[in-house]
């Protein structure tokens, strides 16, 4: 790690602020962050190579475990891609069920994020409250899919489990109870003084920079860029379900928080609408084992942003190439922009603001900032640079 004369401040791969292993080293001048250098590779498990040695069904089982929080997203986008390759007509009911579980996962991921962000700022009560309410969604997910995380609800050609009438009723009751709680957070939780002090005008990224750096998901929508794959490129049942994209033009961490909570309320509406007019019919169609030659570029809007699977098939039952482009990859560049200029205390909350899911992005990504090696006139401390593990 080369230095620019000031202290390199190592964070990770084991650090309370990060629930995942990644390694940030910040060149710090006193409390101010001069530049950030993100080194990943700690969650790289060689999934793409793994997919090439497995049949499509086995690859689906692997793709679901790319990331624990958005496992349904990866499975859905993979199935959509393969179904498009086969030109398979998937029953409408399974599209609706995929949308319902997808939105339940979005609620669960955003509430999880709300708790983690509050914890980064030291506001543990909101962390406890939001995770207590998240348990309601986890119960609903368990009711609909049988497991709290990694639900493996999809199969190529449809869905594996049906949502019956009374399950739909219970889902709706749970969603109503949840909606009241989330509105409480929107009015009371977020307006709390010290939380506002730590979140307002922190990690600002103006609208034009967001577009130039191709940010995606709530990070982009928090700065006024209305980018949402569910509306631009409708898949599953989003074509028929009325919903609007939540954006805010505050461009700071507060804007992203408001966007995420707005999206939770939006998802509640989508789920209720989808359960009300769940079409009749089978939930899956028998899919042939061999996939005809071709390539496909499938997109999905995960809670963190735009996820893309590129699948190339060679006529056998094993995929030729599976390429996963994770949403957090799009936000790694903006987070570098946001970090510079703020101080150490803001690092966790800015990192949490893009809700990084390095298990997805980490299959391949690292950003190297341009080094501005202007000479430091600040009275130089003994340049530690020692990684705090080294001296046992």
């Amino acid at each position: 790690m080369h230095h620019t004369g000031d202290i390199t401040f190592p964070v990770g791969p084991q650090h309370p602020a990060l629930k995942e292993p990644e390694f940030f080293s910040f060149d710090v001048d006193g409390e101010k962050v001069v530049s950030a250098d993100i080194r990943l590779g700690y969650s790289h498990r060689g999934i793409e190579k793994g997919c090439e040695e497995r049949t499509y069904i086995q690859a689906l089982y692997l793709v679901e475990r790319i990331c624990g929080i958005c496992s349904h997203s990866h499975a859905t986008v993979f199935c959509q891609g393969v179904e498009e390759l086969m030109g398979l007509e998937v029953p409408k009911r399974s599209l609706y069920i995929r949308t319902i579980v997808g939105e339940l996962e979005r609620i669960h991921s955003h509430l999880l994020w709300l708790g983690v962000a509050a914890h980064e700022v030291g506001y543990d009560t909101m962390f406890m409250y939001s995770w207590r309410d998240r348990e309601i969604v986890m119960d609903l997910l368990e009711l609909a899919t049988g497991n709290r995380v990694n639900y493996s609800m999809n199969t190529i050609g449809g869905v594996r489990r049906d949502i019956t009438k009374d399950q739909g009723q219970k889902l709706k009751e749970g969603i109503d109870a949840l909606e009241k709680k989330v509105i409480y957070y929107l009015n009371v939780g977020i307006q709390e003084k010290t939380f506002m002090m730590r979140v307002k005008d922190v990690g600002v990224i103006p609208k034009d920079v967001t577009e130039k750096l191709a940010a995606c998901g709530p990070t982009a929508r928090g700065s006024g860029v209305p980018l949402d794959a569910r509306r631009d490129d409708p898949y599953a049942a989003y074509g028929e379900i009325p919903f609007e994209v939540v954006t805010s033009d505050k461009c700071d961490v507060l804007g992203r928080t408001l966007v995420r909570i707005g999206e939770v309320l939006e998802s509640c509406k989508i789920i209720k609408y989808a359960i009300d007019n769940l079409p009749e019919g089978p939930i899956a169609v028998k899919a042939p084992r061999k996939v005809p030659e071709g390539e496909v570029f499938a997109r999905y809007e995960t809670p963190r942003g735009e996820l893309v699977h590129y699948i190339k098939s060679n006529g056998t039952e094993k995929p030729e190439r599976v390429k996963v482009r994770a949403p957090s990859l799009g936000n790694v560049l903006p987070v570098k922009y946001m970090l510079e200029g703020y101080n150490i205390a803001d690092i966790p909350i800015i990192l949490a603001a893009i809700d990084p899911c390095f298990s997805c992005a980490d299959r391949m990504v690292r950003i190297e900032g341009a080094r501005n090696n202007r000479e430091m006139n600040w009275q130089q401390l003994r340049a530690y640079g020692i990684n705090w593990y080294k001296d046992k």
């Binding site: 190592p10 506001y123 205390a345």
Partner: protein, 312 residues
């Protein structure tokens, strides 16, 4: 007999043993209240005792680059400073030594732990620790001035620098908190800063710099540091009750003991509720807050006292 009483005073009753037990109990009360507010069940009552004994039985690592002597000395200095303050405080029994000016000695003794934390953090050659140490000293300038000003208020009113005589003044008059509400509020807020509790627990901000100055400490040394924080909680809570809530020297022993537990528990409950309802603010925001709001409030309080003295 007098010598025996002094030893008993120092070692058992308001001295070492009582402070340790009551400190650990208060830490449990604090964690329990915070947990209940976050609608969790919270730890059992003997949790702090278990933590303390376990830490004593753990391996004691000193990193090879750290300065061996200072690394070990820092916790002991802090604990010693906090324990000696008990001599001047009349906790239900008259103080051992009370001379004119023991308030200044008390204030000085209460700042020694912060320096000990700084030395501990600095000498444990670890980046997080040194940032935490720097922050601890930076914090000193923000909460120390309002705390001392709010302690001097009652001294001026009682016209003496000795804690016991301030207490005597309150016995004949109403509680000083009634005379000086602003001073009382400033004292409480500065107290939260002193104990490095949320929203001012910036030195060991867990998610930013991983436990700050204590992140290289293990085993006995860490146990002593945690014990120091608990005893400091007891001392400062009883200090605030002595100065503002009328102290605890009443006729019979039971009433004063009861008042002692009620008042210190009230202060700890206040600190716990503050911890449960606020997030952690940044260090520059803290310094702005203290110098923009706390110090002016304390100065305003002095003007009021001066005005009251002229008219009285």
């Amino acid at each position: 007999m007098n010598e025996l009483y002094k030893i008993f005073y120092l070692l058992v009753f308001p001295g070492f043993a009582f402070l340790v037990i009551y400190g650990l109990l208060l830490e449990w009360a604090d964690r329990k209240i915070v947990a209940r507010l976050q609608n969790r069940v919270g730890p059992p009552w003997m949790q702090p005792f278990a933590d303390f004994i376990k830490l004593f039985a753990k391996e004691d690592i000193t990193s090879e680059k750290a300065d061996r002597f200072m690394f070990a000395a820092a916790p002991i200095i802090a604990l010693a400073a906090v324990l000696t303050t008990v001599i001047f405080l009349p906790l239900t029994v008259p103080a051992l030594f009370s001379f004119e000016g023991d308030l200044v000695v008390l204030a000085y003794l209460l700042t020694v732990p912060t320096f000990a934390i700084f030395l501990g953090g600095w000498y444990s050659v670890n980046y997080f620790a040194s940032v935490g140490a720097m922050r601890a000293t930076l914090l000193l300038f923000s909460y120390e001035v309002p705390l001392l000003m709010s302690l001097l208020g009652p001294a001026i009113l009682a016209g003496s620098w000795s804690v016991s005589s301030i207490l005597a003044f309150q016995a004949s008059h109403v509680w000083i908190a009634v005379y000086q509400p602003i001073g009382f509020i400033v004292a409480l807020v500065a107290l939260v800063g002193k104990l490095e509790r949320i929203p001012f627990d910036i030195p060991e901000a867990e998610t930013e710099i991983v436990d700050g100055p204590f992140c290289e400490y293990t085993g006995r040394k860490l146990a002593i540091f945690r014990l120091m924080f608990d005893i400091e909680l007891v001392i400062v809570a009883s200090l605030i009750s002595l100065f503002y809530l009328g102290g605890f020297s009443y006729g019979n022993i039971f009433l004063s003991a009861l008042m002692f537990f009620v008042k210190t528990f009230a202060v700890v409950a206040f600190v716990a509720v503050v911890k449960a309802s606020f997030g952690r603010i940044r260090i520059d925001q803290m310094i702005d807050f203290c110098w923009k709001y706390l110090v002016p409030a304390a100065v305003l309080q002095y003007l009021l006292i001066a005005a009251a003295k002229i008219w009285m």
